[in-house]
Symmetry: C2
Amino acid sequence: MNGTVHVRKGDPRLVSRRMQSPLYIQLADSLEGMISRRSLRPGDRIPSVRQFSREQRVSVPTALSAYVLLETRGLIEARPKSGFYVRAREADAIPSVLRSRPAAKVSDLAHSDPLDLLLSDEYNPDIVQFGSAIPSPEILPGVKVGRIMAAVARRLGPNGSNYDFAPGDASLRREIARRSMAAGHTLGPEDFIITVGATEAVHVALRATCQPGDTVVVESPTFFGLLRQLRELGLKALPIPVDPVTGIDLDALARAFAKTRVSACLVIPNFHNPMGFSMPDARKRELVRLAASRGVPVIEDDIYGDIPHKGPRPRSLKAFDPEGMVILCSSFSKCVGPGYRIGYIAAGKWHDRALALKRVMSMAGPTIPTLAIAEYLRNGGYDRYLRTFRERCRQQVGQMREAIAEAFPEEIRLSRPEGGFVLWCELPATVDSMELFHQGRAAGIAVAPGPLFSSDGGFRNFIRINCGYPWSPQVERAVGVLGHMVRGLAARK
Amino acid sequence: MNGTVHVRKGDPRLVSRRMQSPLYIQLADSLEGMISRRSLRPGDRIPSVRQFSREQRVSVPTALSAYVLLETRGLIEARPKSGFYVRAREADAIPSVLRSRPAAKVSDLAHSDPLDLLLSDEYNPDIVQFGSAIPSPEILPGVKVGRIMAAVARRLGPNGSNYDFAPGDASLRREIARRSMAAGHTLGPEDFIITVGATEAVHVALRATCQPGDTVVVESPTFFGLLRQLRELGLKALPIPVDPVTGIDLDALARAFAKTRVSACLVIPNFHNPMGFSMPDARKRELVRLAASRGVPVIEDDIYGDIPHKGPRPRSLKAFDPEGMVILCSSFSKCVGPGYRIGYIAAGKWHDRALALKRVMSMAGPTIPTLAIAEYLRNGGYDRYLRTFRERCRQQVGQMREAIAEAFPEEIRLSRPEGGFVLWCELPATVDSMELFHQGRAAGIAVAPGPLFSSDGGFRNFIRINCGYPWSPQVERAVGVLGHMVRGLAARK
């Protein structure tokens, strides 16, 4: 056991009074930073609460709160009569997933069949929900939003049955525009069209920019819902490798542009599904510049952007888009609830076409849910709720990583998401994730098999794991069962 | 003044105990039939209440109720100390609109621009709503459905935010299937997919059956929303004449099939918008047979089917479709409210493709409105409400016809709708309905100009008039103002 490590002794204090979150959270965040940068290592003893309070010139209760928070986060542990220590984190020992290496060829999309099974398992209480990327309804604000819906219905009376024609309720578009600044851009209410979830937004974006037979650049891996869109629209996919930290490979993208006529790029720059990275700003800027220089629109799926595990919300590609070449698609499905079907699109140069398409695809959105979400954003506490939700996602992802570290064989690799609530896991090369999918399903455990995330059947030995449900003995057991299955499948070959 | 006309003296009584509506309504309906068949003519004196009760062997209060109902319907009038007389109906003197005569040629669809103006005027309380085909929110059950939504939200708690994945809630599909019999078919819950209004249903149907550049048969005139769908999907329209009583011209259709490769027929067989007819069963059967014999799917927009002005609900084309060649599209927008966005499709042979398309277009419907409509159908009184709603539509259409008869010049023609709530009016040949549209708008009166209903700019001197709002002095005045404008425009040339 090491002696106590002094925390940046003699350095400026860890907290800045100008920062916005409470003091103890700032302190905890700073300590966590030191732990993840390995300035504090597993097994290190950290200062006593009293000592820490002196060093940092904060009250003892504040120092204690910071330690309790770090304990909750699973980063430190109290040992009886001995003080606080940095916890050994097995998950940190798991290597990150690698840069993907899809074949650089355009492909038509085959029907990928476990998808419907996967979706049909959602909300089945007998199934452990590691499959679809959805948070547990228990951690979403459904009760609150339901109450707002009831109040809106009462207030509107007979007018609750009226159309809310596209582009959709102005008060909701104002709320969305108000939050633009946090994403680094300054769109106004008139730039947005309300859609039936991000699904309709992406569909509109693809139809506004592509014709059947056209080729669309996608990240590899990418969210299966996007691949399904391409398939049903008769579009071809051109997969580009992604780096687990910096995102889509821009050199590979430039080469693809040089070789192939591309009609659109379809990417998830923030808290990528399934990889978890958020592209650094410089890479975002370069992506938009590169695409714009070839006249290629960039369709951005930003549904996880509001869920950083810490720090500010990352910028959207739209923040680097002087020419209107980025089509921003998002929704409140991941942070408020998917059942309201409220998404939006800011289609830049394609705004008029997008509006025309929305009008013939569904004409209008569901009036009462639309107005309820607007009110929830305006004064129902969305931003307050989001702070708790982010912390929950961070914790749940961390807990899952630890449990996987314990239960899965050593040769795996695991993503290190900076936001959202999914993990991308590379299993031993001999494991077929489709087999694991079916075995898991038979045992009441859903996982999303890797080939779903590929345009050409790749990622055979990968799975995506949803961490949207609170930690529980049932969840813990399920990870153990999965680990056992993975070992079994790995041994068989 | 004529003497009293005996009502079918010696004939079997007017009512049958086996019929389902209350006795006095049956009596009134039968008398109305005699009036419309001209067995009783304007100015005829009808029997006294006492005499009528004796003749029909019903109680005096029942006989009186029947007379009061006929009076409400505007069919008879009481003259002081003299008894009841058949009212003179000016509207009956107006000739019906004629069979349409579109040029038999395929055309790309041009952008028709007053449409967005028209839609933007909806719900504007300063505008008299003769434009869009919507009932007044005051005569829709919005308050009731809003209450059910509040109860559903409360009951679901956090689960109110869950996805309702396509094909959509089974309880709603069961309710829809239960009502199939009334429309003459026997589809089960598994045959339906819930959609975002009939708009999404028709969009899905067209995409399931056509490729861009294909030709689709439409009625001429037809609902502008359908033409807009074709335009945005890059489809061509082939207009077929319609008869104001029997609907689409089947000989012309057969000739079109012989000459042109047609990918689908898109029709509104029940209470056609804007013409108002409901195709006789024999014609429906023949339409489906003819199309099926050429392998052409028939897309049926049945949103007005639940609103006959009297008698049973007409059958849908699906009732004559042994081979699954009919794609039934409908919604609750016209009878419950458009703002819930609940429609459905029964896509026959194209079911799987329709489901795949729905999944990428919007994935799921709005959960709470979906469940609320299901509950409203199940035990909220939809069927009861529908009886009142039908009678209201009938009355409002009748009142509008009378007011038009009074205010418009003599040379007009007017549709005789059997259901729904719109009128189709041919103005003097010299009147340009686009001019009338703009003049009306400036005076705070919306009307839908004829060219919107044509694929090639036809129907220049037609307008469609929405009768969805209860009769009021404001509505009456607006008809007067419109009539004045029509006379002005007719005189100018």
